[in-house]
Amino acid sequence: MPALPLDEAGKYVAGAYVVFFTLVVLYVSIMASKIARIDRELTELVELAERDEQPEKEPVA
């Protein structure tokens, strides 16, 4: 098959690279939401840990 004219070929090439980059960006956004969740959980757990410390301190004080 002869080579496609530049404007037609451009669409296919652009399509291929767009797919690639969409995937990378998609992955980054999924990673971002995972990090957000980890951050949230960590905050919760810190609260949980600090809450546990309080009642223990009372009798000593």
Binding site: A3, L4, P5, A9, V13, A16, V19, Y27, M31, I38
Partner: protein
């Protein structure tokens, strides 16, 4: 632990990818036969090679896991296979786009790399149902490693078989491009491989770190909720 070296790695990835893209569009010459469409190769082929190496690496980590009984190796194996499947999806899509642009069909059976990649991809898709249908975590890790090893050994054999099966009447487009590439094309191609490999490793480490953090948090939570 898993995130060691992540920052310099990410920076290297960005630099490599920028260089690669610049070279693809500004440095590499236009292919005489295929014209502009040939540029798809610079993204499709490095992705395919890296994905296949990722599968084989999954097998190697499987071997390490079984020999050293260290679950972190199984973890690395799992994430490597996971990333290769993701990269593999892009390989198949870009391969299809290239097939459409070159031959007019959205899929061709004449391209050995594409066909053997499809077979490998389908095989590794079974990794997930196999892994998650086993409940005991220790056994799950072991069986997954066995699969990773068998499938990893399968990759080169399959590639060789499909390549041999290809009829010699059809021109091997990829090897034409690969065998007699002018210097600029070859350099661009190599930079592409380096860039995609760095991308794979960076994303792999990201995934390892994130998954590990989730698991550790779960353990921590269980510990704290028990003593509360």
């Amino acid at each position: 632990m898993y995130s060691k070296g992540l920052k310099p790695l990410s920076i290297a990835t960005v630099v490599a990818m920028a260089a690669w893209l610049a070279m693809v569009f500004f440095y590499a010459p236009l292919d005489a036969d295929q014209g502009f469409v040939q540029k798809i190769f610079y993204v499709h082929v490095p992705l395919a090679i890296v994905a296949l190496c990722g599968f084989v690496a999954g097998g190697i980590f499987g071997v390490l896991h079984l020999r050293k009984r260290d679950r972190t190796h199984d973890f690395r194996s799992y994430v490597a296979i996971h990333m290769s499947i993701i990269f593999g999806t892009v390989v198949l899509i870009t391969g299809s786009i290239w097939a459409r642009a070159s031959w007019g069909h959205w899929w061709v059976w004449d391209e050995p790399v594409l066909v053997s990649f499809l077979v490998v991809f389908l095989l590794y898709c079974v990794y997930y149902p196999l892994r998650f249908s086993i409940e005991d975590p220790d056994r799950q890790a072991r069986y997954s490693s066995v699969f990773a090893i068998a499938a990893g050994a399968f990759v080169p054999i399959n590639f060789a078989a499909v390549r041999m099966a290809e009829k010699f009447t059809h021109p091997r487009v990829l090897s034409q491009t690969g065998g007699s590439m002018p210097g600029e094309m070859r350099l661009t191609f190599l930079v592409g491989i380096v860039a995609v490999t760095l991308l794979f490793i960076t994303l792999w480490k990201f995934e390892l770190t994130s998954k590990n953090a989730s698991v550790q948090l779960k353990r921590l939570r269980r510990r704290l909720e028990a003593t509360a």
